[in-house]
Amino acid sequence: MRGIVARLTSRALQSVLVIFAAASLAFLMLHLAPGDPISGIADASSVPRELRAQWDAQQGYDQPIAVQYTRWIADVARGRLGQSTSHQRPAIDVLGDRLPHTLLLMSLALGASVLLGAAIGAWQGARAGRRPDRAVTTASLLLYSIPEFWFALALLYVFAYRVHILPATGMFDAAMYDSMTPWQQIIDRARHLVLPWLSLTVMGTAVFARYQRATMSDVMREPFVRTARAKGLSEAAVRRQAWRAAILPIVTLAGLSFPALLTGAVFVERVFAWPGMGSALLDAIDKRDYHLVSACVIIGSAMTALGSLLADIVRAFVDPRLRVS
């Protein structure tokens, strides 16, 4: 027990350092890019330089970068993430609005991707080299290589424009939602979720399936599989045993995909106007919104650390050898 606590403490400290380093890097690199938050919200061709300079001074952006950095770090240490210039309200409020939307979309998409990807990959791995495997491999490779943005647009075009069986953008029907019954509201939100979820899930499934297939086909050639067959276990039981050994890389990959819960859906959120963290981050970078970008990075790196930790725990649960070590 003491060992576990020590290890968790060590990981937590590591995580704090990682978060600090990542956020500092983001803050400094954004400051090195041309422009500043004021140039991001006020067109230089239409707002006089003097006025922009006054806005800069009002927000403290005219201070040397070291001063800005020190002040920002001090604020972050006190739990204040600063004021978003592109939203003109506290960055924490922007995140508070956006985070639940992204968590909803990405958790559903990531969960489905892992499950479907693991199932399809395991099915393929057990039949590696046969015609069905080759067909599915080709299909998943095709999906894997399609740009996410393009795929999302294609879905939008087909299902929202051509066939028009699903809504195009947003999280709900902006005009009718308030007059719906609670049950209709749930259905409306589900309908709006389908296309962004499908975009992410299909692409994610292709990734997980490829990894799962590769490990599964390797495991199927392991001596313990031959032994199991020699002992007369049914093929289904053999595959179950093999799959348990082959799931470890998927667990690691799922853990590493954890940050995508926050930032992974940048393009899909943009196409479907899903008001999540990804689109907020993209917009914030475009507008040089220092505080919002830094806040996103802090949350993102915290999620990375947490995901990595969770992956370790799950791996230990799944693989007895790791528990022993």
Partner: protein, 575 residues
């Protein structure tokens, strides 16, 4: 007199509370019924009712008028707030010609014209029910000119000395000097703010105050709700003294990808799209439920030349730019561009060749202007005469060891300017000029312009009515005169045009102003756009004003014969 003991008073208070609740409930039911009847009645008569869903690429940052400067912010603000008086459709800025009452019911000029007394409409109410007072006008001027608020409009209010309150319904605006545009100064740049809600806050807290996300105005629409990232809704103010807005609701939704926004519109999920990419116009045109409209805007585009050496501060003594310091070169470059063909190629029927340093809507008489002609042979000859010749046969002219090569900055935010920049590059190659295109996003372009670290740029300006902005954009000391154009003649005639009270002489001065800018060619005056909008066919729109499509939004309505589901929601649940 001794007060009644609490234990005897309590039942009375409780009973009174219960009665009050019953009365309130009863009144609520009656008013709801009346509202429902009136709403239904109005829908059937076609006068009012309906919902319009607008899809736009960006979400407002704030609805606090002094700090809102983008079209997508102003479209909401202009519907929720009022000015003292509203400019007419002709955008005339000469005195109060064409202006119509808004919060001010009437106004009277002082004999010396150095003040105007605005009489506030006694029936005008804020959306929270409080009466509008002259103090609101005085407070608004204070906020717009506050050092802590730093409003962009402050520079347009420079001629206003102060605002005083004569009585509770009369605000007097005092001017520093008489100008033909002083009525515009007093009205156009300020949306009146509620002092009873804001005056208790320090000025420094106003910009980020909750009011910016839950505004209370006096317009014919009132704010209903704003869900960050999803929608912003305004509803008709049924108690408005000037009459409720014809539409029940207007809802803005935010889709940053214009392609997806067009799909949303074509799929019938939205009724109005303000920005349409040229490549999406056929898709909109082929959608039976939509119609395309366009309107002249106050935008114009140009190729702006840096007339001084790179990085030389504005207003410095002025080392001429090695290429653009010579007016003959600038005119030759203008002559080499077939602007009509270029504009047609980039903008099709939505583009027009610009007349000069302002949008045609604001130029009093365009017929008298003599343009630089398109004449490639003359352009070559002019460059030859200026000493620019291709001595080494590499296709690029030189003069005193300086090649006729320059960098052209292009903002990536403008598809039109990106297209035109390529055409400019190609056309100028024909006369031996080498143009190096440098595409930059807005955040990177701004610092380059500020530092004057450029040769030329694909510029664009959005002006206000009245052309006072020309002092900033083209006069020698103008803060937005990135080109460093410095012509005493231009400055003098511009000053005369902006200050004369004789309408006929004013037109003459304006003609000279624009002609001077054409002759001096600090820029190639390239294009103006008719801005396309797509709107659902059931929506009946009011005339679109050049300074903003949204100017008469309260008069837009829905054809009662074409109602769809969302039109039947009435004022909705967001009241």
């Amino acid at each position: 007199m001794p007060s009644a003991p609490q234990d005897t008073a309590a039942p009375s208070v409780a009973a009174s509370g219960v009665r009050q609740r019953h009365v309130t409930t009863l009144l609520g039911l009656i008013s709801t019924a009346l509202l429902a009847c009136s709403s239904a009645d109005k829908v059937t008569t076609g006068e009012t009712g309906g919902t319009m869903v607008i899809v736009q690429p960006a979400e407002p940052r704030t609805l606090f008028p002094p700090r809102a400067n983008q079209t997508h912010e102003l479209s909401v603000i202009a519907s929720v707030f009022d000015r003292l008086a509203e400019i007419g459709p002709e955008l005339s800025t000469f005195g109060d010609i064409g202006f119509t009452p808004r919060l001010a019911k009437t106004w009277s000029w002082a004999p010396d014209s150095l003040s105007i007394a605005f009489s506030i409409d006694p029936l005008a109410r804020w959306h929270d029910g409080v009466a509008v007072r002259a103090e609101d006008v005085r407070y608004t001027f204070h906020v717009y000119t506050s050092d802590a608020v730093l409003s962009e409009s402050r520079s347009l209010l420079g001629n206003i000395d102060s605002v005083s309150v004569r009585d509770s319904l009369t605000a007097v605006v005092w001017f520093k000097r008489r100008t033909p545009q002083q009525f515009l100064d007093a009205t156009y740049s300020m949306f009146i703010l509620p002092s009873h809600l804001l005056a208790s806050l320090p000025d420094s807290a106003l910009v980020n105050a909750p009011f910016g996300r839950q505004p209370v105005g006096t317009g014919r629409f009132r704010f209903a709700q704003w869900e960050a990232g999803s929608r912003l809704e305004i509803i008709a103010d049924t108690a408005n003294a000037r009459g409720r807005a014809k539409l029940d609701r207007v809802i803005w939704t935010f889709v940053s990808d214009l392609g997806a926004a067009t799909v949303k519109l074509s799929a019938g999920e939205a009724d109005f799209l303000e920005q349409i990419k040229p490549e999406n116009i056929p898709q909109v045109a082929s959608t039976p439920s939509l119609r395309l409209e366009s309107y002249l805007s106050l935008r114009y585009g140009f190729v702006g030349f840096n007339l001084n050496a790179r990085r030389e501060p504005l207003g410095a003594a002025g080392t001429p730019h090695p290429v653009f310091g010579d007016v003959r070169v600038r005119r030759a470059l203008s002559m080499a561009l077939d602007r009509a063909r270029m504009v047609r190629s980039a903008l099709d029927s939505l583009g027009m060749v610009s007349f000069g340093a302002g949008p045609r809507v604001l130029i009093p008489d365009t017929t008298v202007l003599r343009q630089v002609p398109f004449d490639v042979a003359a352009a070559r000859a002019l460059l030859d005469s200026a000493g620019w010749v291709d001595t080494n046969g590499d296709g690029v002219r030189e003069h005193n060891g300086q090649a006729l090569t320059f960098e052209l900055l292009v903002p990536t935010s403008s598809a039109t300017r990106l297209k035109l920049s390529v055409l400019v590059q190609s056309a100028l190659k024909n006369i031996g000029a080498n143009v190096v295109l440098q595409n930059l996003d807005g955040s990177a372009l701004g610092p380059r312009l500020d530092a004057r670290d450029f040769d030329a740029w694909m510029g664009g300006m959005q002006t206000n009515p009245g052309l006072q902005g020309m002092r900033q954009t083209w006069a020698s000391r103008g803060a937005l005169n990135h080109q460093g154009y410095n012509s005493p003649v231009f400055d003098a005639v511009l000053d005369s045009a902006l200050t004369t009270f004789d309408l006929a002489r004013s037109r003459g001065y304006w003609a000279r102003v624009f002609q001077q800018a054409i002759d001096d060619a600090p820029s190639v005056w390239l294009y103006e756009e008719r801005l396309p909008i797509a709107v659902h066919k059931r929506i009946r729109i009011a005339p679109l004003r050049a300074d903003g499509w949204y100017a008469n939004l309260a008069d837009w309505s829905v054809d009662p014969a074409q109602l769809i589901d969302r039109d039947r929601v009435g004022l909705g649940g967001a009241r």
